[in-house]
């Protein structure tokens, strides 16, 4: 017989009510800071934005972003978030370097060399949309709408944009990507 | 270049090795009366005082991080000798500055060590990259604190 005592459902309900914060109400109890330290000096920042990190690890940390002169100065964990309690991870803290990295793809590019050569030329967004529009219409005429497929996973695991791409693809009649890694 | 004073007993081998190629010795290690070790060799500083004070820019920090002397520009005025905390500038027969260039010419590209390091009997003299050295010391510090602990 197991020697471990079992909580009755009522005890569990009381436990949840006692130990877990209420639902549906903001748990923020600190006002957002207006200054921070940087390079051993105190600097005032334009704003501190509360958001969350949508990388594919299951903690979805609460984040405080310090923005100064339109640039992400630094990132800290949200102290009011019950899970990460003001702390993030080695990757989270490097975000200013990633967001403002000079290596980012800056504008649309169209391939000029062979596939895999990596040679591209710059394109405006209008030209890119026109190019993609022609290809999609041609594809639907020649192969049918199911010849289009979307490859998406959890580079940014947030759900909102996937629904809008889902709406377009279902209107277009493309194949639907399912399953997970 | 780093001298580990603990292991050095000022035997002078490095000075002899440095002077072999017919040039003046550019390193000198003496044992003081009180037993302390005084090491006079160039640390190849990041912002060398000798280069800052040299009137004709004979001493300058090279691209590879070694401080190199150009005797043809040198006046022999010894301002660099006074400025350098380690008295690491030596002067050849003609009174022109002649200092350690880590055997730059002969060793470029080979993995051989500078003459003085090779000659050091006790391995007290080491040629180290400053960045690499801090990583080594941190590893050693962590290892030294190694405790096989259980909760």
């Amino acid at each position: 017989m197991s020697s471990v005592r079992r909580y009755s459902p009522q005890e569990i309900e009381e436990l949840v009510a006692k130990e877990i914060p209420p639902t549906g109400v903001s748990l923020a109890c600190r006002s957002l800071p207006t200054t921070t330290t940087w390079n051993n000096r105190t600097v005032t920042v334009d704003r501190v934005v509360k958001t969350s990190c949508s990388h594919n690890c299951y903690d979805t940390c609460g984040v405080l972003c310090y923005v100064k002169d339109g640039r992400l100065l630094k990132v800290e964990g949200d102290p009011d978030h019950p899970i990460n309690r003001g702390r993030m991870c080695v990757k989270g803290y490097t975000y200013p370097q990633r967001l403002h990295s000079p290596d980012r793809i800056k504008y649309p590019l169209l391939r000029t060399g062979e596939r895999g050569e990596g040679k591209f030329r710059r394109l405006s967004w209008d030209e890119a949309f026109d190019w993609l529009g022609e290809r999609l219409t041609a594809l639907r005429e020649r192969w049918g709408s199911e010849a289009l497929a979307e490859y998406i996973y959890s580079g940014n695991r947030e759900f909102l944009a996937k629904q809008i791409s889902g709406r377009f693809l279902s209107l277009f009649g493309a194949s639907k990507t399912v399953g997970s890694f | 270049m780093h001298l580990d004073r603990l292991h050095c007993d000022a035997c002078g081998e490095c000075t002899a090795a440095c002077a072999t190629a017919g040039r003046t010795a550019r390193i000198r290690v003496d044992r003081g009366a009180g037993g302390g070790i005084a090491a006079f060799f160039c640390r190849h500083c990041g912002r060398p005082l000798c280069a800052q004070v040299c009137p004709t820019a004979s001493l300058a920090l090279g691209a590879t991080g070694t401080v190199v002397a150009r005797p043809q520009r040198c006046l022999g005025c010894r301002m660099c000798l006074v400025a350098c905390p380690n008295d690491a500038v030596f002067f050849d027969g003609a009174g022109k500055s002649d200092k350690c260039d880590l055997c730059f010419g002969s060793l470029r590209g080979t993995d051989r060590q500078p003459a003085c390091v090779a000659a050091c009997t006790r391995g007290a003299l080491r040629l180290v990259g400053l960045r690499h050295e801090s990583a080594i010391r941190r590893g050693a510090a962590a290892a030294a604190r190694q405790v096989a602990f259980r909760r």
Partner: protein
């Protein structure tokens, strides 16, 4: 998932099974775990590799890779033989216990030790401690990354059921329950299929076999791919054949933040925004708190938020009525989230909020209800009966240990040519291939390194730091050797996510196969059942050989 705040205050023993918490999700598990341990709870880690969290454990079980099911069954057998199982919990809440007992009886401690390599005394001690304490099991994906992954997870759940450690504060078996995102918080169906639009049913592509689908799909073949928020070539298995398939496409569009393998093979590359430049909602699949994402800074350079890209594409392709021009991210969120959702509470400057219990209860199964056909814990999974007939042996309603397809036991002939099993752990400093190109991360990690056991290294004349070539029939990777006892003999480890162009990519070596039932054909399907049709990819199901490069 039982909330960490609950189990960390009540549990007396935690088994971390196949979960390198310091690799991913360090903030929740590790911190709450330390608080529990400092309160006296004991930690047992089951992981073939010595990880940081394993070093903090009281007991570290190191089963041979892919033998987790055998270990779990061995523990069940030992618990039942000592009569430590929770009889009335089994009688009230489980179905098919006798069949499980029959299967578990085969797994004496000696056989368990012979198959898993874990000493019998250790298995016995851990089993007894688990049964006699209020114990949690925290499952990662480590043990699921083999072709017998689903069996391993089923055996672990059965172990928890046998001891009654389910639905109790401090006693539960946490594994990936996909969280609020799929439990009705988001009415994705309404957004993806707007009212008034005639949307015909289209075929389904299983992402685990996307490469195979691109090669073999017919009427029509896949000719156009829009790739975003994921890496198709670096992270897909058997990259070489994926590239072959990509070359036959009419067009490949990549929406990415950085140039890397995928963008090299794309026709059109579009600049993507990071998560701090756009709206978003990201419910966790491990806890119940939600903080809506708001744009922090303007999109950098000419990058465009993903919402605007798809809406603009929709308008350009003539579906303007379904993509209103003035819709902002917040408007879309209002359409996606339930009408009674407290937006301003969950958004900057407020938040986070806790989601109602109906989406994710802090202590699931506290009321003894289980959504299975029999309403009970199905040690004999009735939903799998039909499929067990079509795939005898491979698939069985009761947890059983079946050697992984590409392993020494599973394929002895292949193991002669490629004796080493290669595990690709999730690196703590990266999310697979993301962050790899950042200077700070590059500096911490250094060049890609693979871990090799001293005996295997000595047998091949490999020293620490040598450049080695890891190869099998599919591809080869060049990395540096890190000779260490952190891995078991005949096992190697190489972090996942290294780019192909930078060298050290491991996924290109992996065979493209789905873990679990085989009913996904070559990737093109009509129906997809979330619980049945192959949930993950056997990344660790990989035999390789290594030599000095």
């Amino acid at each position: 998932m039982q909330a960490a705040e609950v189990w960390s205050r009540h549990t007396e023993l935690v088994i971390m099974w196949g979960c390198n918490a310091t690799g991913a999700g360090i903030h929740q598990d590790v911190c709450y775990l330390f608080e529990a341990m400092e309160r006296g709870a004991r930690l047992i880690v089951v992981d073939p590799i010595v990880t940081a969290i394993a070093s903090k454990a009281d007991v570290h079980l190191r089963p041979r890779p892919s033998t987790d099911a055998a270990l779990a069954l061995g523990m069940i057998n030992h618990i039942v033989s000592l009569g430590l199982e929770d009889r009335d919990f089994i009688d009230r809440y489980t179905y098919g216990y006798e069949e499980l007992q029959a299967e578990a009886r085969k797994w004496t401690l000696e056989r368990t030790e012979q198959v898993t390599g874990v000493p019998a005394a250790l298995v016995a001690q851990v089993a007894e401690d688990y049964a006699t304490h209020r114990s949690m099991i925290e499952c990662g994906y480590g043990h699921q990354r083999y072709t017998n992954g689903h069996q391993a997870q089923q055996a672990i759940a059965a172990l928890a059921a046998v001891c009654g450690h389910l639905g109790q504060p401090g006693a539960h078996c946490n594994y990936m329950e996909v969280g609020a995102g799929y439990a009705g918080l988001l009415n994705s169906g309404k957004v993806q299929n707007p009212a008034g639009a005639q949307i015909k049913k289209s075929r389904l592509i299983n992402i685990s076999l996307f490469g195979q689908a691109m090669r073999e799909a017919v009427d029509p073949p896949i000719k156009g791919v829009i790739k975003w928020r994921g890496t198709m070539i670096t992270q897909h298995q058997d990259a070489r054949r994926v590239i072959e398939a990509v070359k036959k496409l009419d067009f490949l569009v990549s929406i990415d933040q950085f140039p890397y393998d995928d963008t090299d093979y794309s026709d059109l590359v579009l600049p993507a925004c990071t998560m701090y430049e756009q709206w978003g909602v990201h419910p966790s699949y491990r806890h119940q708190y939600l903080q809506l994402q708001v744009p922090v800074v303007d999109p950098q350079y000419e990058s465009m938020p993903d919402i605007d890209f798809w809406a603009e594409l929709g308008r350009r392709m003539g579906y303007g009525e379904y993509f209103p021009k003035d819709y902002t991210g917040l408007d879309w969120l209002k359409e996606l989230l339930p009408p009674d959702f407290p937006f301003e509470q969950a958004m900057h400057p407020n938040g986070p909020i806790r989601l109602p219990e109906r989406f994710c209860h802090p202590i699931p199964n506290w009321d003894g209800k289980y959504n299975t056909p029999t309403g009970k814990i199905e040690l004999h999974a009735t939903a799998y009966d039909e499929r067990a007939k079509r795939f005898p042996g491979e698939w069985d309603p009761v947890a059983r240990y079946v050697p992984s397809a590409e392993s020494a036991e599973g394929d002895p002939e292949l193991a002669r040519r490629y004796p080493l099993l290669l595990i690709s752990q999730h690196p703590g400093t990266r999310t697979h291939d993301q962050f790899l190109n950042l200077p700070y991360i590059k500096e911490i990690e250094g060049p890609p390194k693979a871990m090799l056991h001293p005996d295997d290294a000595a047998a091949r004349g490999i020293q620490e730091g040598d450049r080695i070539r890891i190869y099998n029939d599919r591809a080869e990777s060049f990395v540096l050797a890190h000779v260490t006892r952190k891995v078991l003999p005949a096992t190697m480890e190489l972090d996942s996510g290294n780019w192909i162009r930078e060298g050290g990519n491991v996924n290109q070596l992996i065979h493209q196969r789905v873990a679990g039932p085989r009913d996904v054909g070559h990737g093109v399907m009509e129906e997809y059942d979330f619980q049945l049709d192959g949930h993950t990819t056997p990344f660790f199901n990989l035999l390789v050989e290594v030599e000095k490069a």
